[in-house]
């Protein structure tokens, strides 16, 4: 697993069916001290992580399909946990939530006749994932 920080979301309506209804999180990769390690990854959310949160990224296909209960899905990277702290050396690094205003920047590809509904930022999934975690009430525990 790797440590990452959720820095945004990717919204898509035309995709492989396995991605329907899933939240795609744009995550910067971090080193154990919580500093950017260079690079990023797009991961499917499984724990309800929000923008700014430090997360645990699992990068293995069989595990991803198991966590998401999605047999056969072309998915390899999943957010499987929210990191509270990394204790490395004398000082414990507590990785809280980075608070910063969210700037929504639409990068629309080739023009399409109709704007897809999910591209609008007021859909529940987009709103939840782009609201800084500190501004949200406690999440309900996911049940399976």
């Amino acid at each position: 697993m790797k440590i990452g920080r959720v820095v945004g979301t990717v919204v898509s309506t035309i995709n492989v069916p396995a991605f329907d209804g899933r939240t795609l999180l744009l995550c910067d990769l971090l080193d154990p001290a919580g500093k950017p390690a260079g690079g990023y990854v797009i991961a499917v959310d499984s724990v309800g992580a929000g923008a700014g949160e430090t997360v645990l990224l699992l990068d293995e296909g069989n595990s991803a399909r198991q966590v998401l209960v999605a047999p056969g899905a072309p998915i390899r990277t999943v957010v499987v946990g929210i990191v509270d702290a990394v204790d490395e050396g004398p000082a414990m690094v507590v990785l809280g939530t980075m608070e910063a205003p969210l700037a929504a920047t639409a990068r629309v590809g080739r023009a399409r006749p109709k704007a897809p509904a999910a591209a609008r930022p007021n859909t529940p999934a987009a709103k939840r994932a782009t609201t800084p975690a500190a501004a949200r009430p406690a999440r309900p525990r996911r049940r399976r």
Binding site: M1, P32, V47, G61, V67, G81, I82, V83, A85
Partner: protein, 95 residues
């Protein structure tokens, strides 16, 4: 399999339920000369390794092949604590 040194622990109280029950350790990769190779990974610990110990870890789908992690979500697992290794008759590391 890769050699690494356990340098820390990671706490994630909210996580995928199938991953509950094993410690998550920060492992810094080592090269064959016992120098840090630059990379790190957060690995599930199945052998009771402690901070500072040199370990063997496996990544990718192989990480799901230990008794503890079988058929559970895992992409990196510590499966041995290294006592010693040598290269060309020269002992590089001894615990």
């Amino acid at each position: 399999m890769l050699l690494g040194r356990v340098t820390g622990t990671l706490v994630a109280s909210r996580k995928e339920p199938l991953m509950e029950g094993w410690p998550l350790l920060v492992v810094r990769q080592l090269d064959a000369e016992n120098h840090e190779a630059g990379g790190y990974v957060v690995a599930a610990d199945t052998v009771g390794a402690g901070v500072g110990e040199v370990v063997l870890y496996a990544t990718g789908s192989s990480a799901r092949q230990t008794e503890t992690t079988r058929d559970r979500p895992c992409d990196a697992v510590i499966m041995a604590i290294v006592d010693t290794w040598e290269i060309g008759g020269r002992e590089v590391y001894r615990k």
